[in-house]
């Protein structure tokens, strides 16, 4: 069953199985990573799914097209190791969604990913409860860094 606004991306890449390197295995301690990508831009959704897959990590990836869908998912009992949260989204933006998730007691690593570059734009986003914030789009190095921090946290 899929919720409105949620796409489920399979754990395999389109052309075959995701290969798990020894380095990636050690990053996640042998368990499948649960990742939620929250962004209304289909282009960014595609890129971030590809980045997570390209990291070699065995991940289950869900996509939510706005903050409200993300909050509803967590409220329904879904838990995630990593949430990639866009800032500007319709219905519920990333700042509100992050604040809401933290108020609910969600302990996932929430990484803000935004096209905003000015401090005054990014500060409220971080203060809402992000672990970190990056400028979009993520690149392979940023993704590796995020996954390494996630593994240290675990």
């Amino acid at each position: 069953m899929s919720n409105q606004g949620v796409a489920t991306d399979g754990t395999s890449s389109k052309a075959g199985e995701v290969k798990i390197s020894e380095e990636s295995k050690s990053l996640q301690g042998g368990k499948k990573l649960s990742v939620l990508i929250v962004d209304d831009d289909q282009l960014i959704q595609m890129m971030h799914v590809a980045l997570v897959k390209a990291s070699g990590v065995d991940a289950e990836i869900l996509i939510a097209e706005n903050g409200e869908v993300a909050v509803d998912l967590c409220r329904s009992g879904k838990s995630f190791d990593l949430i990639l949260m866009d800032k500007h989204m319709p219905i519920m933006d990333g700042v509100r969604a992050t604040r809401e998730l933290r108020k609910m007691g969600v302990k996932s690593m929430i990484i803000g990913v935004t096209a905003c570059s000015m401090d005054y734009e990014v500060k409220p986003f971080i203060e809402a409860g992000l672990n970190e914030c990056y400028q979009k789009p993520l690149d392979p190095e940023m993704t590796k860094s995020i996954l390494a921090k996630l593994s240290k946290g675990n």
């Binding site: 282009l43 595609m46 590809a50 096209a115």
Partner: protein, 151 residues
């Protein structure tokens, strides 16, 4: 003298476009992402970009034609356009979008229209190059799938 492979042709073209300042290194990041496991990924991204950007440009044109400009709306559309353009390395479009956002912030209609014209110009240039890149990328995919590059 050996003929260039489709990949070499595309690499040369991309170098030229980057030299003109139309694309930056984010383009290469996108282009090379998951290439081995999903060869059509970059082509899908580029086609999606052009489709989405065309739509956003139509929305911008519509809102800026109104007698009273809805600045928050124009700002929102421009922000989305800037984000999408940033993803594929369209740096000159990004700069033009920043100017338009600044004009919206100042609620300066004349400046908005000037900045919008710059966005139109830069996007038109980028779009033209992206169309060529999509054709070239298609040729690279077909060539490498067929194994013809070994000739």
């Amino acid at each position: 003298m050996a003929a260039q492979t489709p990949r070499q042709t595309m690499d040369s073209f991309v170098q030229y476009v980057k030299g003109e300042g139309i694309l930056d290194d984010k383009f290469d990041n996108t282009r090379n992402l998951v290439r081995e496991t999903y060869p059509e990924f970059a082509l899908d991204i580029f086609k999606n970009y052009v489709r989405d950007a065309d739509k956003l440009m139509r929305e911008l044109a519509h809102h800026l034609k109104q007698p009273v400009v809805d600045y928050p709306k124009v700002d929102n559309i421009t922000h989305r356009f800037k984000g999408a353009s940033m993803s594929i390395g369209g740096c000159r479009v990004v700069t033009a979008c920043l100017e338009l956002r600044d004009a919206c912030d100042r609620k300066d209609k004349e400046r908005c229209l000037e900045a919008y014209q710059q966005v139109v110009t830069e996007y038109s240039t980028l779009r033209d190059k992206m169309k060529t890149i999509c054709k070239m990328e298609r040729a690279v995919i077909d060539d490498e799938a067929g194994g013809h590059s070994k000739k």
